[in-house]
Symmetry: C5
Subunit: 296 residues, 5 copies
Amino acid sequence: MSTRPGISELGLSTGKKARLHRILRRHGLGNGTALFLPYDQGLEHGPRDFFPNPAASDPAYIVQLAIEGGFNGIALQIGLAEKFYWDYAGEVPLVLKLNGKTDIPSDDRALSPVNASVAEAVRLGADAVGYTLYAGTPAQEDDLAQYRQVREDAHRFGMPLIVWAYPRGAAIEAKGGKDSFYAVDYAARTASELGADIVKVNFPHPEKNTTVPAAYEAAFTSQQAIGAVVRSANRTLLLVSGGERAGDEAMLDKARQSMEAGATGLIFGRNVWQRERAESLRFASQLQDILAKYPS
Amino acid sequence: MSTRPGISELGLSTGKKARLHRILRRHGLGNGTALFLPYDQGLEHGPRDFFPNPAASDPAYIVQLAIEGGFNGIALQIGLAEKFYWDYAGEVPLVLKLNGKTDIPSDDRALSPVNASVAEAVRLGADAVGYTLYAGTPAQEDDLAQYRQVREDAHRFGMPLIVWAYPRGAAIEAKGGKDSFYAVDYAARTASELGADIVKVNFPHPEKNTTVPAAYEAAFTSQQAIGAVVRSANRTLLLVSGGERAGDEAMLDKARQSMEAGATGLIFGRNVWQRERAESLRFASQLQDILAKYPS
Amino acid sequence: MSTRPGISELGLSTGKKARLHRILRRHGLGNGTALFLPYDQGLEHGPRDFFPNPAASDPAYIVQLAIEGGFNGIALQIGLAEKFYWDYAGEVPLVLKLNGKTDIPSDDRALSPVNASVAEAVRLGADAVGYTLYAGTPAQEDDLAQYRQVREDAHRFGMPLIVWAYPRGAAIEAKGGKDSFYAVDYAARTASELGADIVKVNFPHPEKNTTVPAAYEAAFTSQQAIGAVVRSANRTLLLVSGGERAGDEAMLDKARQSMEAGATGLIFGRNVWQRERAESLRFASQLQDILAKYPS
Amino acid sequence: MSTRPGISELGLSTGKKARLHRILRRHGLGNGTALFLPYDQGLEHGPRDFFPNPAASDPAYIVQLAIEGGFNGIALQIGLAEKFYWDYAGEVPLVLKLNGKTDIPSDDRALSPVNASVAEAVRLGADAVGYTLYAGTPAQEDDLAQYRQVREDAHRFGMPLIVWAYPRGAAIEAKGGKDSFYAVDYAARTASELGADIVKVNFPHPEKNTTVPAAYEAAFTSQQAIGAVVRSANRTLLLVSGGERAGDEAMLDKARQSMEAGATGLIFGRNVWQRERAESLRFASQLQDILAKYPS
Amino acid sequence: MSTRPGISELGLSTGKKARLHRILRRHGLGNGTALFLPYDQGLEHGPRDFFPNPAASDPAYIVQLAIEGGFNGIALQIGLAEKFYWDYAGEVPLVLKLNGKTDIPSDDRALSPVNASVAEAVRLGADAVGYTLYAGTPAQEDDLAQYRQVREDAHRFGMPLIVWAYPRGAAIEAKGGKDSFYAVDYAARTASELGADIVKVNFPHPEKNTTVPAAYEAAFTSQQAIGAVVRSANRTLLLVSGGERAGDEAMLDKARQSMEAGATGLIFGRNVWQRERAESLRFASQLQDILAKYPS
């Protein structure tokens, strides 16, 4: 399996290195791995995501959870970052999610509009910015155009750029679907080719191998698949996403395989906060036990 | 039910705080609640809205009504603000409505174009700006793009931003309609995630629960629904809209439930001025009697 | 009927007031009314409009007609203004028409592109600029966006803005048509809400009352209709357009009703110059006899 | 027939006058007429246009032909201007063609994208710029928008602007076709209204009079038609285009009628260079014999 | 056959000349020919291109291959250039590929979005930039618009511009396909007309002569075809692309015919690195043997 690349091998500017160091070495386990708490589902899916645990509707509750749970960062949209992060500024790294949208209109021509700038992330004291790139969307021209501006600004400000590399749109649905090995592998490579510092992917499903290009029709284990995805990302650090809430054992297994393959960490939201508070902390702690085995 | 957030908890800049203080403490009841008079229907629906009370066609009549009725602000488009507010400048806070459109073409891909800038609001001495965001519209990319510019300018000028968060467009029609609990709840959250200081919503209808996501299919009372909407807005102050003229008792009841749920105030137009002048003032006064019970 | 608003009541800047004074008090009858000669039909309809009177194809002929006929202004596109106005600069006020298009492609999604800037109007010594706003067009987002730029520039340069408020496009055709009372009334109000200093409308037809909103289905006289339109325009001065050539008596009657209703003046092109020169001057003089009865 | 307007009557700026003087008085016959050699067919139609005379594929061959043939100017796209004009700079006026496209995709919504700026024309020592305006195209909004920028830049730099006024697109096909009298007449007027200094048109075909507006259904001779087109262009100098190669006598006759009608000159490409070199020069000389009869 | 143009005949600026000199004289064979290694397939086709030789997934492996194989340059997207070129900066010229896209959505309206600027190429010490122009695409308006910006920036920074001139899109499919002689010839000419310094084309297939314009229906040998393409490119240096991996003899033959016709060099990716390392170097060396026979 691949070895996780070290920060010094990535060709990073001073500012990016400083901020990544803060995230990876001064927060969470401090061992070069990372566990992030994403909290933009209120925009992406609406308040329905909070019905399983109504307390999670309150951003203050979530920020406190991130701090208490020893997360390496919390991802927020601009509105919540402005209204809630000032209270806890510096206690947990802020990842300002720069784009986002509701899930109400059709996703066939998926595009996530930019809602805030890298300069605003700087103003809020963020340590990274996040951008959702819908790999393979029919709207890729617009997606890449707005991504480019974000990447250039992130370079200019020395701000690490985390790309949510999500296969999406009608063309992806016709070619294996959004979590096929083919789609996830291509998405990871796209992020790397286009200059992401960190890439967030869904765990690949090699068994979704119909209607995909021939190379992906063979029988791969999920360990082989996640290994290939990490190699496709090469010097882009890789985070595996939790996605919809599922059984804890399945999630922990996914986490183990990812770290074994050379991932840098995990970014789990609903699987963490769609349960009562003590349970959330317990599950986060189980994830950290896995991360602890992969220091660098 | 939720408690209304205080101005100091919102993470506001000095300029926004100063102007909100002016609106909430130096005008109207001065008790932290607000009653606004919107007057952009001549653009949004055309002069037909003035046929029930022809005097209301004259903007001077409306501005005088707002002053005499002790409203906390009046919302105007740029043209009327320039032609009529100079006469009464400072007597009632001006909310410059920045976008708007006619209702003549189809609303399937609803988008309300920006007609004036935050800088013009500053030039006219406004104390807030208004922006209509059509949550869930297929045109959300364009909507969010122009909203973002308004939000950034409002930040730059310290100008409070009131978002008319209106679910609208073909996708909303297919998912419960524009005043379903689902749609209103999502719209309120969207405004909060994206940085509104104040959000204006329609009163939610929990009984419109077919074709909505599963979480909203359950039986909720309207009091539960408006309570949830206020929580989804979290640190974004919430105003409830009057909408089309309806029976006074129904409107007052809506007002009571909203304030009980933690809303900051009301924004009623046609229900106020689509009747003879003395009646308008009497009805406004009834609304203020309710607001008086919810000081903060 | 309405009283025509005076220049001092309009909330105008110094520059706009100075130029409007020049148009309304130093040219034409000088009594606060206005008669304009529009000459952009060569672009809007093509040279076919000149076949009834071939001499009218020559812009020099038309400018001379405007001077001799004592018009308050002549409206030209940038090309003709540059090639012909230099010869007669200052002898008759120039209204630089900023947008325009051919009538060759379909009008379903009507939009009139901007061909010149307000700054160019300043450079050419114009006293006003003209903009065609297609009220109700499916392209209203683009229309309002380019209009906004024109309005802001007109404000910046103190240049009066005349809006050709024309209901147009597929949605208008489906709702009463472009000269129904409903459509003209809405167009006048739209111009006022959005900051026009002067609005040019077609004479309203209250008898076109099918497929219009209920409020407009009642029986109105044309005098009532034009009166309502003037009120909808409120502090925006109103000009009535001649449109296609029609019988002289009908045109003069339209002019009388408009002035009686509180209009500021008339803007007649084809009805003036689609006839032999002496006849043109005679007809213009008849229009001025009407204007003379409505000084302010 | 019309008299050709003199340079001093056109309201031109000093820079435009100086450059037009250079083209019309210091090159070619120097008698106020002009013969241009257009050479952008390699882009507009592809190398197939060079198959009848392979030598014409070489831009150096063409520039030498223009010099030796005593042309008043040569029209090139930016790439060829940069690679070949430096060798012959100043020996023949350069007309930098600013927009252009391949003919591979459908022409239904014809638009010719801008490939170079007026500033680049200045940098290359050009004496004029060329712009193809597709009169009547469904894409006229985009066409007029990019044209406007070119016109403003041409004004700013004192650079004469030659408009290739070509009726084109699905709407034109439905209304008489691209070389009907109706279409050519409207195109010439459009260029004049929108500020062209020189307009290049196809020779009008009055016999294509079905599906055109009523005014053009009458029987006109081609001499009457070209006369009307020259009048529609008024103070915009008119060039007649050669178009596809045709019989020499027909071309010479077209040239004679055009000059008789008041045209300023001719712009012939394929009819010149789609034959062997000596033949090209002989034909150019025949055209110049005609121009020599129309000094001004 | 044509003679390859020398650098001094191209009308180049000092900066472009200096960088081209570095590529053509200081690297590779140093005899005026060039062999480039393109490595943007990870973005254009996805990681599936690396399955035949998994080591090729690692950009470091490829950069080392380019250095060891004595290539004249390596083409990378911005992400890989930033992450990997710093390690080997200056050892092999960098061609920063400025645009690119995934092949997931439909190619009917092919457009390759710009992902990096010429300024970034300067910052990374690149000696050339690459741009994919999809000749004949229905999206040519957008393609030419973004190309124009790249060309102007390349001029401003003295950066050689290599155009990947690829016929593509629905209209090309309907007219002979993307590697017909017609399509390749037109693409080469388009690049030249629009200012490319170097053009990369596919080897033309004269036997694909159905549905092409009449001129291309005749029987041409492939040597005649590539000769014509070189002439169509005139003073734009021409590189022949390898395309999908094919038999070595066929590839070498293609290389020989291209150089014989006056091409400047070759740009072969998958044919080089989709095989084991020693084999890659051996094949590159065979290509260089051919280049060695065409010094200039």
